[in-house]
Symmetry: C2
Subunit: 295 residues, 2 copies
């Protein structure tokens, strides 16, 4: 069994980005700038935004966090998005979800200028990705593709099962791994809550992407000998063995599955760190006008 | 074996549309209007556009065909698209592909106002479809979904194999059948030219969507007893048994496969007529502002 060390790879990529940012600055270029919008005081959202700010600092980006109270109206949110769209210093920005219920997330997402949509949530970025055009790909699938690349894990012709069909993980993952590209060219099956015989479907997979959000769902009896396992799940459960009183569990029962597989991502330290670094990569692309040429 | 009679269903839908158009006109509403742009003198393109014009006439739509010579420039094409975008009488329009090589199809497609993109080729429509938002879905997948609906073929929990990964059939079909919807909720595998063990993959499918474009590729030994077969392929081959000297073949070896399966679409008369009728349905939706509200 080989561990896919997402934390290590993420750190390597951060160093690469930092080096590139340094060069941009040396040439008198503009410092890449990511903004995050956070509404209300959700603890998890605060934590995620904090991680993103920290990553920006590590790679030498400027970052701005815009905080709004829960009572902000949809109209005001749209105005704020518009300001970010029109602010030439901001290369990309993200909305930390969820938003309060009186605001349509979809409406706000669609108001983001696709050129600055570094989360890849705007339908036009999703559509461009499906067609195979340059696009911001959402952070988790992009991070997983980067792991395949860096570990030189062959995906062409492999049977992949993606468990989960969310708009930000399962569906893009299915499309990306099935694309005519490298990584890609896999025979991908998208499984989900309505899949009958899930065990049977998964057991034939060369590569399993577990993204259903059920702690330790994937057990050794569901996994083929020598398979590659990518664990996207993060569930926080109480624990009397950690200082914080909590521990993180993935969708994979790591101890038993790791004994059977060739490659596996741990939780934490696998896909998670890659997600944040993907956002940094997207922001760098935005700053360089790589996806959409700068006007 | 039950034949899925696409021609019959298409005619029923055309009658339904005609009735609705009649009602719109009786109420003093605007007649739905589809435009088609054709460049050069490709025989197949002429035939397709001819079929679309005829269908428009049958359902009571106005139709306009804009013909341009092969030497039209990209810039002129963009201007023509822009005129159509801004013409309030045109509800939707299509570009008959292929375009001459000196014109970027993707650039022209992206210039189409998504509200008038009744072919569903614009990335924003594809992206909205992936997210599950109202969108123009490209005609072939939309037509197949309609066949599942009208024949009440259960897709939920079924193992579906889509053979082919084109942007206008394979990929949207994979997403649509995997969506949380009815039809939908299937466990979908997208297979393609790089799929190893294709025979094995296909043989376990409850439903096969054959869209690879290889005449009579799917043979009886690849099909499970009682499967449902949707044949998207159309290949024209020489024949001394027809008046025209040509006949159309699907991707499925009909004679032998039909004996094993529960449902099957013939070629011609299966998916083909549904494709055109889907375009008519999309145009009606455009006229009614069903996908994007009219301003």
């Amino acid at each position: 069994m080989k561990l896919i060390d997402g934390k290590k790879i993420a750190n390597e990529i951060k160093e690469e980005i930092a080096l590139e940012v340094q060069k941009i600055k040396e040439k008198g270029g503009k410092t890449p700038h990511l903004a995050a919008v956070i509404v209300g005081h959700d603890g998890a959202s605060e934590t995620y935004v904090g991680h993103k700010e920290k990553a920006c600092a590590q790679v030498g980006f400027n970052s701005t966090v815009l905080r709004f109270e829960d009572n902000i109206t949809e109209e005001q949110m749209l105005q704020e998005v518009n300001k970010l769209n029109n602010n030439p210093d901001i290369d990309g920005f993200i909305l930390q979800l969820p938003l309060p219920k009186h605001i349509s997330e979809q409406k706000i997402i669609e108001a983001i200028d696709p050129k600055k949509d570094v989360d890849g949530f705007h339908p036009i970025n999703l559509g461009r990705m499906v067609i195979g055009l340059p696009a911001y790909v959402s952070a988790t699938p992009a991070g997983i593709m980067e792991l395949f690349k860096r570990y030189e894990i062959e995906t062409s012709g492999k049977d992949v099962v993606v468990i989960g069909r969310s708009n930000i993980v399962g569906k893009p993952m299915t499309i990306l791994l099935g694309q005519k590209a490298n990584p890609g060219n896999a025979t991908v099956t998208m499984a989900h809550s309505r899949t009958k015989n899930l065990k049977e479907v998964v057991a034939k997979a060369d590569i399993i992407i577990a993204a259903l959000g059920v702690a330790e769902f994937l057990t050794a009896d569901m996994v083929k000998e020598g398979a590659t396992i990518i664990d996207v799940g993060i569930t926080r459960v109480k624990s009397d063995k950690t200082k914080s009183g909590w521990k993180l569990l993935g969708d994979v029962k790591f101890d038993e599955v790791s004994e059977k597989c060739e490659y596996i991502t741990p939780v934490p330290g696998g896909v998670g760190p890659m997600t944040i670094v993907s956002l940094m990569l997207n922001t760098l692309k935005a700053a360089k006008g790589e996806i959409y040429p700068k006007e």
